[in-house]
């Protein structure tokens, strides 16, 4: 508070020739430049957009009796035929954390008017962003091409009760001399195969031994369809932010290289603004990671 009163006194004296009218300009409201303020308020609005999507995910998830289990769905890893739950998305998180850190370094070098430093750290940031996009492309490819998840199909589900697997005639399926049993909440993936250019999911049947369907035989159905649409839409919207960030970072890095910002002598403020945006993209990922992969 002491600081504020001092700056008020300073303003009235310092701008005496301009009549002290705030509308005369020359004074930055909240001690931040126009561009920085507008970036902050753009990020506020973007935060509401993402919050809306993530809350919609939560509301729809709450309305479903079952929901695919993230540590079962997201368990593939490039070049490895193994079930490694959450390992790859943790890698993606680290890529974004690193690119956030290199971005802070670029902003700091900008404050020191160090052109080489700005370009070097921005280049590493762009590399991080591109790596993230590549990782996301791998994740999407696995889901779409090999696991057949699309915006309107979701072969990942969970059994609503205990049961035994049966064939289409109701005869128990045996493995190693004993019937194949499933437990309530156990995850499954219905494999698909192409038939006349259309993906058809395999037909499996379960005879429930507990719950409201005890004694009945049901076909194992797709999981909640909304899962695929929500996943691709929200992570896609975030990925699009990363993509735009990479484009703008590249433009600003080239401008910095050309000496445009050193000529402005404002401590590379443009780098600071794109830095705010880039950290925000990382911030959103913290919550996408929480909602899609951890909860």
């Amino acid at each position: 508070m002491a600081e504020t009163s001092v700056s008020h006194a300073h303003e009235t004296h310092g701008h005496g020739t301009e009549g002290g009218n705030p509308w005369d300009g020359g004074k930055e409201p909240m001690k931040a430049s126009y561009g920085k303020l507008m970036m902050w308020y753009f990020l506020v609005s973007d935060a509401f957009t993402f919050a809306g999507f993530l809350i919609a995910y939560g509301a729809i998830r709450f309305s479903m009796p079952t929901w695919p289990e993230p540590d079962f769905v997201f368990a593939s890893f490039p070049f490895v035929k193994a079930h490694w739950p959450l390992v790859f998305v943790t890698f993606m998180t680290f890529v974004l954390i690193f690119s956030s850190v290199t971005m802070v370094r670029a902003v700091q070098e900008g404050h020191r008017e160090n052109k080489r430093g700005v370009v070097f750290w921005m280049f590493l940031t762009i590399l991080g962003g591109a790596t993230f996009l590549g990782s996301q492309a791998y994740e999407w490819t696995t889901l779409i091409k090999y696991e057949n998840v699309t915006v309107n199909r979701n072969p990942f589900g969970r059994f609503v009760a205990d049961g035994v697997m049966v064939d289409e005639n109701g005869k128990e399926i045996m493995a190693n001399g004993s019937p194949v049993t499933v437990k309530k909440d156990e995850s499954y993936l219905l494999h698909g195969h192409e038939h006349n250019g259309v993906i058809e999911l395999e037909k499996k049947y379960v005879r429930y031994t507990s719950g409201p369907y005890a004694g009945q035989t049901h076909q194992v159905e797709e999981g909640p369809k909304a899962f695929g649409a929500l996943f691709f839409f929200i992570t896609g919207f975030h990925g699009f932010h990363v993509f735009s960030g990479v484009v703008f970072l590249t433009i600003i890095m080239v401008n910095a290289m050309s000496g445009l910002y050193s000529a402005r002598k404002n401590g590379y403020e443009m780098v600071e603004k794109i830095g705010l945006y880039w950290h925000f993209v990382d911030l959103v990922w913290v919550f996408v990671f929480l909602v899609f992969y951890l909860l």
């Binding site: 902050w40 729809i60 850190v101 802070v104 830095g275 990382d282 992969y293 951890l294 909860l295």
Partner: protein
């Protein structure tokens, strides 16, 4: 303020931030795998639906909020902005508290409506004996 920190101090903050975000993320993931039975198969409180899962979720949300706080206040330098700017960015976020409460309540309602429809669809109703029509005919349609 950031401008008043020495360059070495600023660099230190960056590497502290890297360590902090990395450690919190690793703890989150390991705890998630632990709570969902991937480390000790018999421990599954993270997905059992009861009080354990609620605690698990709150811990995860808390850790994520802490990461978000760190990114906003130190990487985005919110800690060094004037109070008016901080409040004008953070106070609107309080609206989300109500959005979360309201929409999750709504989601629960959709769920119970779905369940009710499922039960009604499966209800076996004895067909009632055909009653004698008591209405009247209008334009070829039975009314009443």
């Amino acid at each position: 303020m950031a401008a008043h920190q020495s360059y070495e101090d600023q660099k230190k903050l960056v590497f502290y931030g890297l360590k902090l975000l990395a450690v919190v993320t690793i703890v989150e993931v390991v705890f998630a795998l632990f709570a969902k039975g991937h480390i000790v198969p018999s421990i599954t409180f993270g997905k059992d639906g009861g009080f354990g899962q609620a605690l698990y979720m709150m811990a995860m949300i808390g850790a994520s909020l802490y990461k978000a706080y760190f990114i906003v206040f130190f990487f985005m330098h919110m800690a060094h902005e004037v109070r008016g700017l901080v409040l004008s960015v953070l106070l609107p976020m309080l609206l989300l508290v109500w959005a979360i409460i309201a929409f999750f309540q709504e989601g629960g309602r959709w769920g119970s409506a779905r369940e009710q429809i499922r039960q009604k669809n499966e209800e076996v109703v004895q067909p009632a004996p055909a009653a004698k029509p008591t209405g009247y005919w209008l334009n070829g349609t039975m009314k009443g």
